[in-house]
């Protein structure tokens, strides 16, 4: 099962739901890795939905596993790309040309959903009107508040900033504008005093 129940946290921390088909003429999905499962599940609940949908899918490390299943859903327009960065221009162009009534569905990892949400907000969709469903890895997209560098798919706490090398503490404080959680130096007061890293939510 690709679902994970995040424990309750501070208000800043994003929460996710379960995708449901909504009214509208056009439907845009952005998904990565196990997020494909949420699309497959949703397609079962509404047989007319996929024919009205544009799906942008990034398999990440799942290889061909889901792509072949998605191809069988009768999706109007299916794009499979190597990374979010590679797919982003397509997403932005699609949003730019879109009309009111477009339904946006994001599913997969938090980093993917957060970045797609940021583009959608810029295009004028209120963030509360965007559906999200978390699937797959609990790795997070973290910003180092000191050097501002982003480290993707962080699964341990503390971790080492991939840009400046500081030892960072993983927090739930989230920025929608940056599409990242905020990480703070853990040993600033007492350099070198760093607790051993543990897996997130272990």
């Amino acid at each position: 099962m690709s679902k994970f129940n995040f424990p309750e946290s501070i208000r800043s921390r994003p929460t996710y739901g379960t995708l449901e088909a909504r009214a509208g003429k056009s439907h845009l999905f952005v998904a990565d890795a196990e997020g494909a499962e949420a699309i497959i599940d949703l397609a079962k609940t509404d047989d007319s939905l996929m024919a009205k949908s544009h799906v942008i899918y990034i398999p990440k490390d799942t290889g061909e596993k889901y792509t072949s299943q998605l191809e069988k859903l009768g999706i109007n327009q299916l794009y499979v790309g190597p990374s979010f960065a590679a797919a982003q221009a397509r997403l932005q162009r699609t949003l730019e040309r879109a009309h009111m009534g477009l339904q946006l569905y994001l599913t997969g990892t938090e980093g993917l959903m957060g970045q797609a949400q940021r583009d959608a907000m810029t295009a004028g969709i209120p963030h509360t009107a965007i559906q999200t469903e978390h699937r797959g890895s609990i790795g997070r997209r973290m910003q180092c508040v000191h050097c501002k560098g982003i480290t993707e798919d962080v699964k341990i706490d503390p971790f080492v900033c991939s840009h400046c090398g500081l030892n960072l503490f993983v927090r739930d404080h989230y920025s929608r504008r940056l599409a990242a959680f905020q990480a703070v130096c853990i040993d600033a007061e007492d350099p070198g005093n760093v607790p051993p890293s543990v897996e997130l939510y272990s």
């Binding site: 879109a98 009309h99 009107a129």
Partner: protein, 320 residues
């Protein structure tokens, strides 16, 4: 005192626009500047009518940046409880009146890429101020204004003269109606829609936008409910330990205020939620008329919005 801060004003001009609608302009008595406001804000006008104090909300329709004058436009309602008739018949230039500071329950969402405005009749008033605000910021907007006919089309000439490309006017008498479905279809992503007009129009726009998958966050509406007359009823106010009778032509909120009990309010039209009051006990039935409480709250018998809702029955005890 409840409500927001008050401003003492003098009526500086009264301009009849047509058979039904008159504009009232105000200047401050102390000569100071009015606060600026945001388009869509209303002011609560205090009217002392033969010993009865009425506090009625009207949308401010002057330029939000004009600190010298506030203006409202009032449609005469011969069937109502008399607030608009009082304005039309009793108010004269030079009269002293009291307004509240502006309160906005119908503000523009400035994150919108485009503002699509739908006005019905006197519902044009908040848009007059919003358009001035947007023009100053070079905002992207479009108005669709339905009214009975040219003779009753308040501000039609002014709007079409200044904004010939952005203002679309529809006259019911010419069987010219807003083609809502086509209008909504194809609006760019990030458009917000605003509707002010009769209840039927608001429901129509809310229904169609929902059908077409517009997010609720992008659909804004304002409908002030005027309190309706009804059978007199008795209420016990438990905190102030008073038993009061609500008359046929006053609202529960007005009756509470008449007895000198301070009760919270902002809009006095069932929209803002400020006046929500807990019910301690009752025997009878509620006549809920607000847009604030959810259906299950209305059914629970635990809450009432005294600005517009009434009660029929033996006893009602409020936590006030």
């Amino acid at each position: 005192m409840s409500g927001v801060e008050k401003i003492n004003v003098k009526v500086s001009a009264i301009v009849p626009l047509n058979e039904l609608v008159t504009r009232f302009e105000f200047k401050r008595t102390d000569g100071a500047l009015f606060p600026t406001f945001s388009g869509g804000a209303h002011t609560v006008v205090e009217m002392i009518d033969d010993g009865l104090t009425r506090l009625n909300p009207y949308s401010l329709m002057s330029d939000p940046m004009d600190q010298g004058t506030y203006a409202i436009s009032v449609r005469r309602d011969d069937e109502g409880r008399g607030g608009s008739l009082f304005m039309h018949n009793n108010v004269k230039v030079g009269d002293d009146m009291v307004l509240s500071n502006p309160v906005n329950l119908f503000s523009l969402d400035l994150r919108a890429k485009k503002h699509l405005m739908i006005a019905g009749g006197i519902g044009i008033t908040p848009f007059m101020a919003q358009i001035k605000q947007l023009d100053r910021a070079h905002g992207n907007w479009e108005l669709h204004y339905a009214t009975r006919n040219a003779a009753l089309g308040s501000y039609v000439d002014e709007l079409t003269a200044t904004h010939p490309n952005d203002v679309n006017v529809y006259y019911d008498d010419d069987k010219n109606f807003i083609d809502l479905e086509n209008l909504l279809d194809g609006q760019q992503l990030g458009t917000h829609i605003y509707v002010c007009g009769p209840k039927g129009m608001i429901n129509w726009v809310r229904g169609k936008t929902a059908e077409l998958g517009w997010p609720l966050e992008a659909v804004h509406y304002e409908e002030f409910l005027a309190p309706q007359p009804g059978k007199p009823f008795e209420v016990k106010l438990s905190i102030s330990n008073k038993v009061i009778t609500v008359g046929e032509n006053e609202s529960l909120l007005e009756a509470i205020e008449r007895e000198g009990v301070d009760a919270p309010y902002l809009c006095r039209g069932g929209a803002c939620g400020q006046c929500e009051t807990a019910v301690i006990g009752y025997d009878g039935k509620f006549i809920h008329r607000d847009h604030w409480l959810e259906d299950d709250e209305k059914a629970s018998g635990k809450k009432i919005m005294p600005c517009v809702s009434r009660f029929e029955g033996k006893t009602l005890v409020l936590d006030r």
